[in-house]
């Protein structure tokens, strides 16, 4: 298809490079430098989607970030990209896009029936219509609404694109590269400030790209180009295009989304698709301009009705005519600029000016060009369904209440200008209390709460001369305060055409007997009548009106609709706009992809992976790993076709019969030094620590102040003032913070230092009746007999030239030792243990066997110390000192904690000695009792006892002390299981603890 609406010459596109693309399956071509929108318009394509509620045909309304209609779904790089604004998407070879919100297609849309049923879709229709009957909601209403409504469809596949985050610091972050952005950036850069200058489009220059002005002796566009090239050469300036600063957060943190690769057919390797910038700016300069306001009239959503500034941009930037028979409908001089551009390119526009009369340099130029201008004229309604083909126009009375002389004239587009709305989103997000400026009928920033200033038309300044002057001055002033340098740059002279005052008129009354829809919010289909209805129904607060009617709640966040909505509410309510106030502006200013927000923290990268120094050995020996906090630990070592159950049983059995070795590097370790350590530990742990001799370890339990067990572990006195504490893998970081809290804030008088040494030591637990034999061979010179190294003893040794710490401690309940060497020697130690242990049938064992061993011994661990239990619940009351005070002690006398039937850990065994009890099952007396079945407790950990060869679990149940011997039931509704069980002691194996002392 040939381009019928492209001018022969002009625009900033590269006419030497043709680009082909498809839209809704049809092939078109455009040029390098086009957006999808400009290329479609060049091909005469105006119908791009359907509206949200009524499924009315929709075309293009804007030319940039404010676009409410032209939302398309893209296929790029084999990924689906929903909700892309066609006005922002740059064209690339092979681009594929399609309309959204149309089913089955854009030309025949089933939902459009809503348009004819629209009296059933009034304001608040979701709330009213689908209320009754309730049972209809899930099965009938919701699926239909979901199918018929909504914009693009998100992919359900994993997004393979790469997204990045970046952190930056700067003196000035300048948002927008129009005249105010360039001037302030230039002045500040000359003063040596570190600057980030962000432009959301691909081209720098903002309004200078489309306006007819002279700066110095250059055109505005040439001036912009020159400033940009100078800024690019300065080392203190970061210049970013395709970058939208979308959020202003606390302490001058602004977040920017950079579309790094979206304009390319493919994302290069090692390059992200998008990059999110977290920018901490000393000063934020908001120079993001203003957005033209629509005028409201009948069927003003028909494709072909668009902002006059957008029509001008398509002409001047892309060399595209949005129509060949345009009506310009305006209440100010901006419409004339568009009319003049049409005329200069051989197209005859008609200008309908709502004003009775107006005179200015721009209007004079239009008159001199013989442009047909009708004052006191309005568009009453656009005609045409999928595209404007004519308009009813009429004369309007001076008081703007009466229309007369309605006539129909042919046209193929209607360009509207209802004056300008400053873009105050970022300023408002920063906490700026905005004020209403009556001169321009819009809100502008006023008192700054953060380090922020708004310049140019974003601040309601609409002349270039004043914009440049204030921006040069502000850029210089702000940067000087930071750099203490001043390099004055002369402010250039400006030639621009002066405008006359705009008309406050914005909404055309309905002609008698007509019921045209007059839209305020184009994306969410909110019409004048909807707001009027909401007000009649009693909604008053603008925030409520917004939510009830969904005005301004779509993905465009009401960029073109907010002010007209406010005008209407204030008119109906007989209030002035500032009394009505505006709704809160919240980030993001434009939609941000979830991928960009998540960044690189996906899958394996969502947290760091820690591996022990023996990791490679485990890998080579068929370890199957499990995540343990941030660590990867061997769960079991697979032999042949073994499964988890078989392998862990073999490993655990070998520990009970021979000897096993387990990687315990992941245990938290804290090095503690100082003369007051014993006193400190005495306050931290529940048991007594003042008399622990050098060379001895002790098991300890620490509580939170509320009496709940925080962690357990052993601490060893290495020398007089040096201790080595171990914590559980999961609580290592919390315990360190906890100790630091008490040392720094509560008892600063204690002379104690703590530091994490978790990563400094590699650990191996050697456990089983033959572990002493292995240890003796590892340390032939040491006396490791029961007398030489008794239970809870500590010794240092020489492991074939490597310094080692040896602790006689046991988690498995067997005779056991833990050997620690510096991390770098971990693998050496491990291989030595395996080599020497061979003759004793040593086998490595993983976390699954480790759990089995501790469960059947009744040793409590994380699943019992779950942040809800006190020492008594875990049968640790013997470790709670009655004599001394410690953290959390006072809480232990709470009524509930000393109740006679307090919960306690017990063992449970299935009566059939066969059925494994799922963890998380709950214990009940009667499995058939009426729901809710009174629950006695829950199963915290389950294993297959290798000692007795039957299932065994630990449970925490009410009055556990008196429940031993009872026959109860373990219920797992999730697995539909009801298992008869017997309550036994939690110490199922070796209840007297003789093995560890043997």
């Amino acid at each position: 298809m040939s381009e019928n609406f492209r001018l022969e010459k002009g625009g900033l596109i590269n006419r030497n490079r043709k680009i082909s693309f498809t839209f809704n399956g049809k092939k078109y071509f455009g040029y390098e430098g086009d957006t999808l929108a400009s290329a479609l318009l060049a091909n005469g394509v105006h119908l791009v989607g359907r509206s949200f509620k009524y499924h009315r045909p929709r075309g293009f309304f804007g030319a940039g970030v404010d676009e409410p209609y032209a939302i398309v779904q893209m296929n790029r790089n084999n990924e689906v990209d929903p909700n892309v604004r066609a006005t922002e998407q740059e064209l690339f070879e092979g681009l594929e896009a399609k309309s959204v919100n149309c089913w089955p297609n854009v030309n025949f849309d089933i939902g459009a029936i809503n348009n004819f049923l629209n009296k059933f879709f009034p304001a608040g229709f979701y709330y009213k219509t689908f209320m009754w009957p309730k049972s209809f909601w899930y099965k009938i209403y919701e699926p239909i609404i979901r199918k018929a409504a909504g914009f693009g469809a998100a992919s359900i596949k994993h997004d393979k694109e790469r997204y990045e985050h970046k952190y930056e610091y700067c003196d000035l972050l300048i948002v927008g590269t129009g005249p105010s952005g360039l001037a302030s950036a230039y002045a500040a850069a000359k003063n040596g400030a570190k600057i980030i200058l962000a432009e959301d489009k691909s081209r720098y220059g903002g309004s200078l790209l489309t306006s007819e002005v002279t700066i110095g002796n250059q055109s505005g566009q040439d001036w912009a180009e020159q400033i940009i090239s100078e800024l690019k050469s300065m080392p203190n300036v970061i210049l970013k295009n395709r970058s939208q600063v979308f959020g202003y957060y606390d302490h001058n943190m602004l977040v920017m989304s950079e579309r790094v690769s979206d304009h390319l057919p493919k994302t290069d390797k090692y390059t992200p698709k998008q990059r999110l910038w977290y920018i901490r700016a000393k000063e934020a300069v908001i120079s993001c301009g203003s957005i033209e306001r629509p005028l409201v009239f009948g069927n003003n959503d028909t494709p072909g009705v668009m902002l006059s500034s957008a029509a001008k941009e398509y002409l001047k930037v892309y060399g595209v005519l949005v129509g060949k028979k345009p009506i310009i409908f305006t209440n100010n001089d901006s419409g004339y600029e568009t009319a003049i551009e049409f005329k200069k390119n051989g197209v005859d526009p008609i200008v309908l000016d709502t004003r009775k009369d107006a005179n200015s340099e721009i209007i004079k130029e239009a008159k001199e060009l013989n442009i047909n201008i009708k004052f006191s004229y309005v568009v009453v309604a656009a005609k045409g369904y999928k595209k404007v083909n004519s308009a009813d126009i009429a004369k309007i009375s001076d008081d703007k209440k009466v229309i007369s002389n309605i006539e129909n004239i042919k046209c193929d587009c209607i360009c509207v200008s209802g004056f300008w709305t400053p873009t105050i989103h970022l300023a408002s997000q920063s906490g700026n209390k905005t004020k209403f400026n009556k001169e321009i009928d819009a809100f502008v920033p006023s008192h700054s709460k953060q380090k922020e200033v708004t310049l140019g038309s974003a601040n309601g300044v609409f002349t270039l001369e004043e914009t440049l002057k204030t921006s040069f001055e502000k850029g210089s002033e702000l940067s000087k305060q930071i750099t203490n340098k001043e390099n004055k740059v002369p402010i250039p002279t400006v030639v621009e055409k002066k405008s006359s005052k705009h008309d406050k008129f914005w909404c055309v009354p309905l002609p008698e007997g007509k019921n045209y829809k007059r839209f305020l919010d184009f994306q969410n289909d909110v019409a004048v009548a909807d707001i009027q209805l909401a007000l009649r129904e009693g909604y008053r607060s603008i925030e409520h009106v917004k939510r009830y009617t969904t005005l301004g709640m779509a993905t465009d966040q009401g960029k073109t609709s907010n002010l007209n909505g406010l005008q209407l509410v204030s008119e109906v309510e007989n209030k002035v706009v500032p009394q009505v106030g505006h709704t809160t502006f919240r980030p993001p200013y434009t939609p941000v992809s979830i991928g960009a927000i998540v960044g690189r923290e996906v899958g394996k990268h969502s947290k760091p992976t820690r591996k022990s120094p023996m990791h490679h050995w485990h890998e080579k020996n068929n370890a199957v790993f499990v995540d343990a906090g941030v660590w990867l630990r061997p769960r079991y070592y697979k032999r042949g076709n073994e499964n988890l159950f078989e392998a862990s049983k073999r490993e655990a059995k070998n520990v009970r019969q021979n000897v096993g070795v387990c990687d315990v590097t992941t245990l938290g370790k804290i090095d503690i030094k100082g003369p007051d350590v014993a006193e400190f530990l005495n306050r931290v742990y529940t048991n007594a620590w003042l008399k622990l001799p050098v060379g001895k370890a002790r098991y300890g339990v620490m509580l939170r102040e509320d009496g709940i067990v925080m962690d357990d572990g052993t601490t060893t006195r290495i020398s007089e003032n040096h201790y080595h504490m171990t914590t559980t893998t999961a609580q290592a970081a919390n315990v360190l913070s906890h100790l630091e809290y008490y040392l720094q804030l509560v008892w600063p008088e204690l002379n104690v230092n703590v530091v994490s040494s978790t990563e400094q030591w590699a650990g191996a637990a050697i456990a089983g009746p033959k572990s002493r034999d292995v240890l003796q061979k590892l340390f032939p010179d040491l006396n490791v007999s029961n007398e030489g190294l008794p239970f809870m003893g500590y010794k240092e040794g020489n492991l074939f030239g490597v310094y080692a710490k040896i602790f006689r401690i046991s988690f498995s309940g067997e005779l056991a030792y833990e050997v620690n060497v510096e991390s770098g020697h971990g693998n050496f130690m491990w291989e030595k243990i395996m080599e020497i242990g061979k003759e004793f049938n040593i086998q490595p064992y993983g976390t699954e066997a480790l759990s089995t061993l501790r469960i059947e011994m009744g040793h409590v661990a994380g699943s019992e110390l779950d942040g809800r239990t006190i020492p008594y619940d875990n049968s640790l009351e013997g470790l709670v000192s009655k004599k001394k005070d410690f953290i959390g002690k006072r809480s232990l006398s709470k009524k509930a904690y000393v109740a006679a039937d307090r919960q306690k850990v017990v063992g449970i065994v299935p009566l059939d000695k066969k059925t494994s009890i799922p963890e998380g099952s709950y214990i009940v007396k009667d499995p058939k009792a009426k729901l809710p079945n009174p629950k006695l407790g829950h199963v915290s950990a389950s294993c297959w006892s290798v000692e007795y060869d039957n299932p065994f679990s630990l449970a925490i149940i009410k009055d556990g002390k008196n429940m031993i011997g009872q026959k109860l039931y373990a219920l797992s509704p999730l697995r539909n299981k009801s298992i008869p069980v017997e309550i036994v002691s939690s110490h199922y194996v070796d209840p007297k603890g003789e093995r560890v002392r043997s």
Binding site: H251, D706, Y741, L745, P748, S891
Partner: protein, 88 residues
């Protein structure tokens, strides 16, 4: 994201810190008899002021020091930061 001035390290982003609650709560002295009410006040009961609040933060990814931060809970304005042993 807040920008917190650690008295030991300087201005650092919030992500380097962890929050520690009301800095004005005093732990009852060890071995002192305390009433249930007094103890509950210490363990559980916290004010949730709208406005100025002196609170604890730990610079966990930095110097690991616990610090005091006077912050407006409504606006997030930070008025002053103190070392653990300093008071307003």
């Amino acid at each position: 994201m807040l920008y917190i001035k650690c008295p030991h390290c300087g201005l650092r982003p919030q992500t380097e810190f962890s929050y520690g609650g009301d800095a004005t709560v005093k732990r009852p002295e060890l071995n002192k008899e305390v009433s249930d009410q007094e103890w509950d006040n210490f363990v559980y009961l916290r004010k949730s002021p709208r406005g100025k609040h002196l609170e604890l933060w730990q610079h966990i990814s930095g110097c690991r020091q616990w610090i005091k931060v006077e912050r407006d809970t409504l606006t997030h304005e930070i008025f002053t930061t103190l070392k653990a042993n300093e008071n307003l």
